[in-house]
Symmetry: C2
Subunit: 188 residues, 2 copies
Amino acid sequence: MGRWEPDARGRLAKAALELYGERGYEQTTVAEIAKRAGLTERTFFRHYADKREVLFAGAVELENLFVAAVTDAPGSEAPLDVVARGLYAAAEMFTDRREFACRRQAVIMGNAELRERELIKLASLSAALADTLRRRGVAESTASLAAEAGVAVFKIAFERWIAAGEERTLAELTRESLDELRAVTSAG
Amino acid sequence: MGRWEPDARGRLAKAALELYGERGYEQTTVAEIAKRAGLTERTFFRHYADKREVLFAGAVELENLFVAAVTDAPGSEAPLDVVARGLYAAAEMFTDRREFACRRQAVIMGNAELRERELIKLASLSAALADTLRRRGVAESTASLAAEAGVAVFKIAFERWIAAGEERTLAELTRESLDELRAVTSAG
């Protein structure tokens, strides 16, 4: 099984994102990623199923974080406040990952298949959130609406966070987007 | 070019949905759809690029309706009220299409590629709505949030409308979902 490589997973992810940016996602091979990271292909496949998974491995972690935060929220809280707990847990997860997130976004936006995969990731997150809310006793359609609204806030805050020149934290931008959602839906 | 076939397009769509339901989307060929409709393959391809397009031809119409309703709304209206005009225009478009919509949904849900296509359709609708709001002078992130919230309401009202036993109109369910969205985001 070869010797233990300190943070092989992180080195592979960093190498992959560099190469995707330099020569394009389609043109990059697993062999090149492993070489850039100073590791073997065998080690790559111990950590990732394929080169696409490097970009989506965080999705499971994100969904688990969201679901755990929503599950653990006090029973008395309103659905959107409960969802907000998931959003802030996610914001914390990304604290030190802005550079990775920016590079990743550029790769995703440049490839139709990856954009579709990203949409599926967000739809899956919304479904998991709605399920978790229902298990807390929130009514069917309220659960779906709160989950969809929460994912919309996540998406918009995230896009703003990785925009060039943005200096606020993801948590700050999440709070701002939540406030804006409340303003949008209360006006008129 | 063959003689003119009254409502060939509608007959082809009906035949396609029947066959997708009976023998599965993957197993159905364009030749079979044309035969069931009593038309030629050549006629099929004058109306649809392929068998998938039968399911998504309405997406352009839907997006155009949304955008037109939002564009024509009075300048003084709040963004979500403007989006609601798009939702009611869409509800009207679907008035006589519930049976088609139910059959279509069953086909979409049974096929991963079609589910992805459906997500892309809704993401495209959201982006078009946000663009239209921005052109009306609505601020960047407010436009995105109002558009995402509107598409979430559309999705949820639509799912409820095509559920077995539902007797309310799509317009009624849209109003109810909008009210629920306002309730969800104002609580707490």
